[in-house]
């Protein structure tokens, strides 16, 4: 693993343990594993993958030294950064952008219609939750953390939210893909807000890749190779979109037994953008919003990114470099 | 046995009653009639089926063959082991049958005190069963059985764990209650003198499988004394018969 004894010459580890979720927003990881890009790039370094169902468990595993790197959403990354006082992890690349929004019941057409309604978000204080609250505030509606206010915001896990929506127990949900598409396709929900439209360039971070600082320091060469595999996976998705869908779904099936339905898969892919750009500005803005609504203690995110290795790889491949600047 | 003279009503009637536990035959065609107000004592070797007979009469077990009829009368059984309920105080145990009969609380209390008085445990009402000696527990069980106010009283070695003196006292008390309430009593004991002291009839059961082998009518005048020559004499006679019976099986 990424233990001391594994740190070889030239900053190469004998193995790397990579985490990701069996989730469509983690497509680059799914492809990279499915197509073997990571292992090819890593060469003699052994790749061990672990899958998680939720961010907190991935962070727990990362901090406990059970994994070295993981794909993860922006929220757990910020929390992990804050809890470890900026010593636990670094974001080294973007992976996925977009693919979230507010789906509501038939009959709700404007923000004003949401008054007195119940809207689910995946978890208090996560990106979608913050996005919803910020959006509500912009539209003159308030919602408190205990589920009260003009709009009742209810943190619920995705499965519960989907069921509750299907049965009419909630009026809407601000969720990421593939649940967005499933609410639309399976439960006849309507997209009231596509979060894409709220961001300047239409891009906002959904998934990125993080490593422990310790691993990054000890094994920079391995990290570079990991990034190489990551970029190759992204390349493949860009060039072979249809095959990428199939491959991602095959990996999902291998991990979870059941693939996504084709229409959901296609709709989700349409909403998602796979890019190495971590869209740093959206992370900062989102964190700012979270602080504004009191869901995050003020946290200094300076230094959370280490895009050096990524940019080296991008430069080598002749692609534009990315930036961790706020705007 | 020619007890078919129907001067009083037959209260318990067994005709060729058999009982087997699996393959073990405990009672073999026992026929026995107990009339209203009779005090019948049962004697027999250990394991010959006396307790089994009582449990059949009480309806606790089903008979394997024959007919048994008690005419739907209320039966009270005092078990061989005291079998008190540990979660109730002594008084609670005695009051329980009264409670089940729906007797009011003060009335219940009064009756229980009386009964505890009879068994000489007036001061132990608030104790719990585990705080009593073996003989005391047996007496509480007696009080509980008496509290039931049944027509037929079945008693399985009720005084086995008592000293001679306490036994004498309770003999008198039991006789008085039996008289006053016109009870029908079926009384199991190993003490032949006790049987002769108390019974109108003494029934001898054979060794397993139990069968009725003798039926002694006891004709002495009451009140009797356990150490009177009449009682001793007849007891000696019955004891000899019993010994002969048990000896036949002792290989």
């Amino acid at each position: 693993g990424g233990d001391d004894e594994a740190a070889g010459a030239g900053g190469e580890a004998s193995s790397i343990r990579l985490g990701y979720f069996p989730n469509i927003t983690h497509t680059p990881a799914l492809i990279g594993v499915n197509k073997g890009y990571f292992q090819t790039a890593l060469g003699t370094t052994k790749l061990e993958t672990k899958t998680f169902n939720a961010g907190p468990a991935a962070i727990e595993a990362l901090f406990s030294g059970a994994i070295d790197a993981t794909y993860i959403g922006p929220n757990p990354a910020i929390n992990g950064w804050a809890q470890s006082k900026g010593t636990g992890l670094k974001i080294i690349a973007g992976s996925t952008s977009g693919g979230a929004g507010l789906v509501v019941k038939e009959g709700i057409t404007s923000p004003a219609d949401l008054k007195g309604k119940k809207i689910a978000t995946p978890q208090l204080g996560n990106t979608q939750d913050v996005a919803l609250r910020a959006w509500l505030k912009e539209n003159g509606l308030n919602a408190d953390q205990q589920g009260g206010g003009d709009v009742s915001v209810l943190p619920q896990d995705n499965a519960t939210a989907l069921q509750a929506f299907a049965q009419g127990a909630i009026d809407g949900a601000w969720v990421p893909e593939p649940n967005l598409s499933r609410l639309v396709l399976e439960s006849k929900g309507k997209v009231l807000v596509n979060e894409k439209d709220l961001w300047p360039s239409g891009l906002f971070v959904t998934t990125h890749l993080i490593v422990t600082q310790e691993f990054l320091k000890k094994n920079p060469a391995t990290v570079k190779k990991l990034l190489q595999g990551h970029l190759e996976a992204l390349d493949y998705i860009e060039k072979n979109n249809a095959e990428a869908q199939t491959a991602a779904n095959a990996q999902l099936k291998a991990l979870s037994g059941k693939p996504l339905k084709d229409d959901v898969l296609a709709a989700s892919f349409k909403n998602l953008t796979f890019t190495a750009d971590p869209v740093a500005s959206s992370l900062y803005t989102s964190a700012k919003h979270a602080e504004d609504v009191g869901l995050l203690k003020p946290v200094d995110l300076k230094g959370i990114y280490d895009l050096g290795p990524l940019n080296e790889q991008l430069k080598a491949a002749g692609k534009p470099e990315v930036s961790d600047a706020a705007a | 046995m020619s007890l078919l003279d129907q001067k009083t009503e037959a209260v318990v009637r067994l005709e060729s009653v058999s009982k087997s536990y699996g393959d073990l035959l405990a009672l073999d065609r026992v026929s026995l009639t107990v009339r209203q107000g009779e005090f019948v004592c049962l004697l027999g070797a250990s394991g010959c089926g006396k307790s089994t007979l009582l449990s059949l009469v009480a309806g606790l077990d089903g008979i394997t063959g024959g007919t048994l009829d008690i005419g739907g009368r209320k039966v009270s059984l005092m078990f061989q082991e005291a079998a008190l309920f540990p979660w109730l105080s002594v008084r609670g145990n005695v009051e329980l049958p009264l409670r089940l009969q729906g007797v009011s609380r003060p009335e219940r209390r009064k009756r229980a005190e009386e009964l505890l008085d009879i068994v000489r445990l007036r001061d132990f009402g608030d104790k719990r069963p585990h705080e009593l000696s073996g003989g005391m527990r047996q007496r509480v069980a007696l009080a509980r059985a008496l509290a039931q106010d049944a027509d037929i009283l079945l008693m399985d070695e009720p005084f086995g764990a008592l000293d001679a003196m306490t036994r004498d006292i309770l003999h008198d008390e039991l006789e008085r209650i039996w008289r006053e309430q016109d009870l029908t009593v079926l009384f199991v004991t190993h003490n032949v003198r006790e049987a002769v002291r108390l019974g109108d009839r003494v029934i001898l059961l054979s060794s397993r499988p139990g069968r009725v082998i003798e039926d002694y009518p006891i004709a002495h005048e009451r009140p009797r004394r356990i150490d009177s020559p009449e009682v001793s004499g007849q007891a000696a006679e019955i004891t000899d018969r019993l010994r002969a019976e048990v000896a036949r099986h002792a290989h």
Binding site: P155 | K74, W87, E131
Partner: protein, 310 residues
């Protein structure tokens, strides 16, 4: 008869516990009646409670303190050894500071109130339902054959699997949470009762039959008291199940108002705040221990009555 000495001295001897025998003043004199009459009254009131009480409290307290001290020590040593980074394994000091901050907010106590209300309501419901089901199942052979084994089956079902059904039946309401709690705890209660009933000594059942107990009276006066030990143990397990189910069930719906303990625990995890996670672990343990103390009090009471505790 001189009646005063023996009973008075018997009390003293118990207190001092020395080895000289209590003697009646004149041999052959019988102090029985007075003594017996006197002791019933004595036993009702608390006896020799001054020094003994302090001693008893101390005897039950020191092992607890020692245990806590040992745990804290090991924990602190693990922290000092820098086995894991401080943000993964925070020091006891950090955690207790955090805990202090948490429990001094009124909000927290509102949450505790909300959660405890749900826990007790759900548990009581579960006890009632479980008792009825347990009594019926143990009474009717066909019912036992039909659903006896289902009870354990239901017990093994993770609470979250009931969410769809809960939402189906109760939408997102307090009732949905209670539904999950009841489904979690009732089987335990029922199983405890069934096991207790199954092991009621046959002699007692026969005594009950002779005393003419039927139907409800039989349950009231015989079956329930006789199976009480097992029933209480079932209740204890039922409480644990109901609490666990509640912690999951509270995530089902957030009723506007105070944040329940279940939600707070989840949030502590979501924030990857290990110190806060440990805080809530401690909170849940303390609540569990307090409830256990209640159960133990009931249990000891029972054992004393049954003569199993001296």
């Amino acid at each position: 008869m001189p009646i005063k000495y023996p009973s008075a001295r018997a009390g003293l001897d118990g207190a001092s516990g020395d080895t000289t025998a209590p003697v009646a003043d004149k041999p052959g004199v019988n102090p029985e009646s007075a003594e017996v009459a006197g002791l019933d009254a004595l036993e009702l009131g608390p006896r020799r409670d001054k020094g003994a009480l302090g001693k008893r409290v101390w005897r039950s307290a020191w092992p607890k303190f020692l245990a806590i001290a040992i745990v804290l020590l090991i924990w602190q040593i693990a922290v000092w050894s820098e086995w894991k980074p401080i943000y993964v394994l925070p020091s006891p000091a950090t955690v207790f500071t955090d805990l202090g901050n948490v429990i001094t907010t009124g909000d927290f106590w509102d949450g505790v109130r909300v959660t405890m209300t749900r826990a007790f309501t759900g548990f009581l419901l579960a006890v009632v339902i479980g008792t009825v089901i347990g009594a019926l199942v143990s009474q009717f052979a066909p019912l036992r054959a039909a659903i006896g084994s289902l009870i354990t089956g239901l017990q093994t079902m993770p609470s979250i699997m009931w969410f769809p059904l809960a939402i189906l039946l109760f939408q997102l309401s307090e009732s949905a949470i209670l539904f999950v709690v009841v489904l979690g705890a009732a089987p335990s209660v029922a199983n405890g009762l069934i096991s207790g009933i199954d092991y009621v000594p046959r002699t007692w059942l026969r005594v009950g039959q002779v005393l003419g107990m039927r139907g409800f009276a039989k349950y009231r006066h015989l079956i329930l008291p006789a199976s009480l030990p097992s029933f209480i143990s079932g209740l204890k397990q039922g409480w644990a199940f109901s609490w666990r189910s509640l912690m999951a069930g509270e995530l089902l719906v957030i009723v506007p108002g105070a944040l329940s303990i279940g939600v707070r625990m989840q949030q502590a995890r979501d924030l990857s705040d290990s110190s806060l996670v440990i805080c809530y672990i401690i909170v849940v343990l303390v609540i569990g221990i307090l409830i256990d103390v209640l159960f133990n009090a009931a249990d000891n009471q029972l054992r004393k009555r049954w003569g199993l505790l001296s």
